[in-house]
Amino acid sequence: MRMIITLFVTGVFTSNLVTYNLLGIDSLHSDNKTSLSSVLKNGFVVTVVLLLSTTICQPLNNLVLSPLKLGYLAPLTFVLVIFGILLLLRVLSSKFLPKAFMFLKENIKVESVALIALGLCLIAFEYEVARGYAMSLLYSVICGVGYTVVSLMFFAINKRLAEVKLPEAVKGLPITLLIAALISLAFGGLAGL
């Protein structure tokens, strides 16, 4: 139980994919997520992609690439797996869930989600290997939850900022980066909890 709590604090707060590894800020900066439900749906899609990519990539790395000393092929393999997962999600949703397919088509930027998933596979794997397969899967879900939490925070802060008159130079990218920095600073305070 203690390990799960530690993983939760690490994945959601101290080593958050957005605020610590700076992955996926580009998808949070865009203004297309105007409602709470779209933010939550986006977070759910990212969580599913992270879980599926870890489910496939970690055994592939541990059982095939590392024993055959083909570690240099890992990024290419991971990218192919991640794009395969994204394609599969699109095909399946187009057949069985037309509304979800429309959401994926309109709101999800394939390259951004692939960047987050590749980042998790490449950066977090060294920590994940020591924890075991089940914990890795849990950690990938927690990282997805962390992404969703930060998305929600961005959504709430942007909603409040829309009512405030900001100086022209601060509008847009600078305020997004400042929000991310302040969230990162706040989350960093939980290190060593």
Binding site: T19, L22, D26, H29, P75, L115, L173
Partner: protein, 193 residues
């Protein structure tokens, strides 16, 4: 090109994940050079191979081409600067996806090689310059040195905050803010004249 606010915002947002490893001037130069060369070589290769690519395969082809280019550049860099390359190696494959994200607005499939090269030099240059400046400022403010040479640590204690990714976010925000202020000042002066 730089006066197009959306374009430079996108370039900076796409380059953000790479600033995590740009903690010193040397690492930032390495990441910036590899990123710059990857953008240019990938664009040229995509232009040369455009007759074989369809709309559906273009994205994956771009990612695989840029991954290959980044892989070759990383291997070349590790021959000359092994320790430096090893210290940033987990983040280097991400350059491939940031390259694709940077170039996603410019349709390299449609453009002629000369136009695509021109656009990629500008965009790659902005991205690399941003990484280099962030690296230098983080080393100066976070470690009190420049290119490994001690500047002020005996007089003042460096601000350790800038060693962390939060520091990269703050510096990026301040750089964009400064740029926006300068653009608005020069714009006002231009209208007065």
């Amino acid at each position: 090109m730089l006066k197009d606010k959306e374009t430079y915002s996108k370039i900076i947002l796409c380059s953000l994940p790479l600033t995590v490893v740009a903690t010193t001037a040397y690492t930032s130069i390495l990441v910036a050079v590899i990123s710059f060369l990857a953008v240019i070589i990938s664009t040229l290769l995509v232009c040369l191979l455009k007759s074989f690519l369809t709309e559906k395969t273009a994205l994956l082809a771009k990612v695989i081409i840029s991954l290959g280019v980044v892989g070759v550049l990383t291997m070349t860099a590790s021959v000359f600067y092994k320790e430096l390359t090893d210290s940033v190696s987990p983040y280097l494959p991400l350059i491939s996806l940031t390259t694709v994200l940077i170039l996603s607005g410019k349709d390299t499939i449609e453009a002629t090689p000369a136009n695509a090269l021109k656009a990629s030099v500008v965009m790659g240059g902005v991205s690399s310059g941003f990484l280099f400046v962030v690296g230098i400022l983080r080393e100066f403010l976070g470690m009190g040195s420049l290119f490994g040479i001690d500047i002020y640590t005996k007089v003042f204690a460096p601000m350790e905050l800038f060693k962390n990714p939060v520091g990269a976010l703050f510096i990026a925000a301040m750089l964009v803010l400064l740029y926006n202020i300068l653009v608005s000042l020069t714009g006002k002066r231009g209208t007065k004249e």
